[in-house]
């Protein structure tokens, strides 16, 4: 048992922390306010090799592992959760499924440029009528000559408007229910692949979330990921990894809430003393610290298990669930500690509060995580 990060992991953490502090933190509020996607920052992250962390060197990655990747997502998200979700969606559920289930050719063509930061990827699973119940997918893929034709729509898709490639799930065999779902690797410049205007969101405003419309999108045979009917199984596996990254994102937000609150509580004077001297405020800060540390420990454990090639579904669900709720609770307390100032856009905790909420919804709601854990318990 060893709870310390190794030297390489510490270095990656230090480097990304420095990058996030200098490049992201100063602009995060403005990006959120203006709903601006940070293309230049994403380019720099790509050049540093951050998108290659979870992928092997063979496919353009750096082979540093999932724990190193989780550390990077955490540090980026501590400064800017919008950039955190762009990063996490790109690696875990965008390029991730191609890396996990693609042929060597598909991986060379798509994972390699994704890992090298030359393009972004998206994952189109959710539909207007299929959210938590993703088995209820209605998008169809019909055989056509030597290929497939896709029709349908996907909603709330991160990176939809900035990605060059998207993994899309569609029904190839209606009779078989969830076993009739397959996934496809779709270049976003394919005729018929359209995206809507960016959604107007509560938070994560510097991330790109849009609807995808598939209007007779004609794809070659080789664009299928794995075999027909494997789509459902594939996205469950991809989401296991994705949950670790949402957990890491949540830890970043939880830590940001604690840092901001501690600083403010020491400075803000009421009743002739810093509010940090009031036990009621101290207990809030202590709880925030406790939750952040517990969430972090669970996220690292899940990532470590994945790196060891051990089963990690249960731990990933626990990490995602606990960390996202910790982030939301910390954000709520952070606004409380800031009082009226916390309600204002001039202070960062207002943004943390809005950003944190998505963590309890995306990649499986808290209710679905509890369901996953209960099922794995054998209920």
């Amino acid at each position: 048992m060893d709870f310390r990060l190794n030297e390489e992991q510490q270095m990656i953490q230090n480097m990304v922390r420095e990058f996030a502090d200098k490049e992201l933190a100063p602009v995060a509020a403005r990006l959120d306010e203006e709903g601006e996607f940070p293309h230049e920052i994403i380019r720099k992250m790509g050049a540093l090799g951050l998108f290659g962390l979870p992928f092997s060197e063979e496919y353009g990655g750096t082979g540093a592992g999932y724990l190193s990747y989780a550390l990077a997502v955490e540090e980026i998200s501590r400064a800017c959760a919008s950039t955190g979700i762009t990063y996490a969606a790109h690696c875990s559920i965008g390029a991730g499924p191609i890396y996990l289930f693609g042929t060597p050719e598909q991986k060379k063509q798509w994972v390699m440029p994704c890992a090298q930061g030359k393009m972004l990827a998206a994952f189109g699973l959710t539909e207007p009528n299929a959210g938590s119940d993703a088995g209820g997918t209605q998008t169809t893929a019909v055989p056509d000559g030597d290929g497939w034709v896709l029709n349908g729509s996907k909603c709330f898709i991160t990176n939809a408007g900035v990605a060059k490639v998207a993994v899309i799930t569609a029904v190839t065999d209606k009779e078989k229910g969830s076993r009739g779902i397959s996934s496809f690797v779709v270049p976003t410049d394919t005729p018929g692949f359209k995206v809507g205007q960016p959604y107007r969101k509560l938070g994560l405003n510097a991330s790109d979330t849009r609807e995808i419309i598939l209007d007779n999108v004609r794809l070659p045979k080789e664009s299928m990921l794995g075999k027909p009917g494997e789509g459902f199984k594939q996205f469950l596996i991809a989401l296991d990894g994705g949950r670790i990254s949402i957990g890491a994102l949540s830890v970043g937000i939880a830590q940001a809430c604690l840092d901001a609150s501690l600083k403010y509580a020491r400075e803000r004077v009421q009743f002739d003393q810093p509010i940090a001297k009031f036990q009621a405020v101290q207990f809030k800060l202590a709880d925030m610290k406790m939750k952040t540390e517990l969430a972090r420990t669970m996220v690292y454990k899940a990532a470590w298990l994945k790196d060891q090639g051990l089963a990690f579904s249960m731990e990933a669900a626990i990490a995602k669930l606990y960390a996202s709720e910790a982030a939301m609770q910390n954000a709520t307390e952070a606004v409380q500690i800031y009082g009226g100032y916390g309600y204002m856009k001039d202070y960062p905790v207002e943004r943390y509060f809005r950003d944190a909420k998505l963590m309890e919804i995306g990649e499986g709601t808290s209710e679905i995580q509890r369901l996953v854990i209960a099922r794995l318990l054998g209920c």
Binding site: E7, E8, Q10, M11, I12, N14, M15, E18, F19, A47, L48, G49, L50, G52, L53, T62, G63, A64, S68
Partner: protein
């Protein structure tokens, strides 16, 4: 161009609560986060820029415990071939002359053209190791360097002086320069560099390996003694002057004359 860059691991005290420990001669560093000394980070970048432009070899030197390896390897991740870490509890790091002696002993064993240090360390702020190191090595030096130009067998540097003055100095190599912050924009270590740095040579040496005797570099051999470290009390004894504006002015003037201010 064979370069040595001296780097130190220091605590980040900008945000932390600084408390004196029980010895009364050191601070409690248990909750600090550590990193490379700010000025040294610029020295690392300057060496890498010189190497990229003209070729050459960079070796990093650090006196410090095993925890310093992360800082050393981070520099290796940006460029540079190898590093030496000197770890020996007998070295008295409080005396900049002794620190310079240890660094010089490590450098002298090899051929060198240019040695770079930071102009100042963030923890002890002596501003003297680089200059003392030049003396130990018997070569020229320039302190507070804000720009470097490599010439044939020579080096031309700009130095920052007080009062906004800049001094231009030309020196023959080998030489020591102490780098001022802001000379360049330090890069972030790319992940690939971080991975490769794990495989680069990092030798750990002791006094015996450097041919140094304990009394040359230990506290007993130092002519400097740290007496006490304390946080000065912030005293405030403001006196509020009452009265009409005219009365206040008069009282104030009297006080100033009495106090020797007028």
């Amino acid at each position: 161009m064979k370069m040595f860059v001296c780097i130190k691991r220091v605590p980040d005290t900008s945000e932390a609560d600084v408390k004196i420990d029980q010895t009364g001669k050191s601070v409690d560093s248990s909750r600090f986060s550590f990193g490379i000394n700010d000025a040294d980070n610029y020295a690392v970048e300057e060496a890498v820029l010189i190497k990229e432009a003209r070729g050459g070899e960079i070796k990093f030197l650090c006196i410090g415990p095993k925890d310093s390896d992360v800082v050393i390897r981070m520099s290796l991740a940006k460029g540079g071939e190898s590093a030496v870490r000197i770890e020996d509890p007998r070295i008295n790091q409080k005396d900049p002359l002794q620190v310079a002696k240890v660094l010089a002993a490590a450098i002298k064993r090899e051929q060198f053209d240019l040695v770079m240090t930071g102009c100042m360390s963030a923890d002890d702020s002596n501003m003297s190791v680089g200059v003392a190191l030049a003396e130990e090595l018997g070569v020229s030096h320039a302190a507070m360097v804000k720009s470097v130009e490599i010439l044939d067998g020579k080096i031309k540097v700009k130095r920052e002086l007080e009062g906004g003055l800049t001094e231009v100095v030309e020196m023959s190599l080998p030489a020591v320069i102490t780098i001022q912050t802001g000379i360049n924009v330090p890069r972030y270590a790319p992940v690939r560099g971080i991975r490769e740095a794990q495989k680069k040579e990092l030798k750990v040496l002791k006094l015996e390996d450097l041919g140094l005797a304990e009394e040359e570099v230990s506290e007993a051999g130092s002519r400097v003694e740290l007496m006490k470290l304390y946080i000065p009390v912030v005293a405030s004894n403001a006196e509020m002057i009452q009265g009409t504006p005219d009365e206040k002015a008069e009282i104030m003037a009297v006080k100033m004359v009495k106090g020797g201010l007028l």
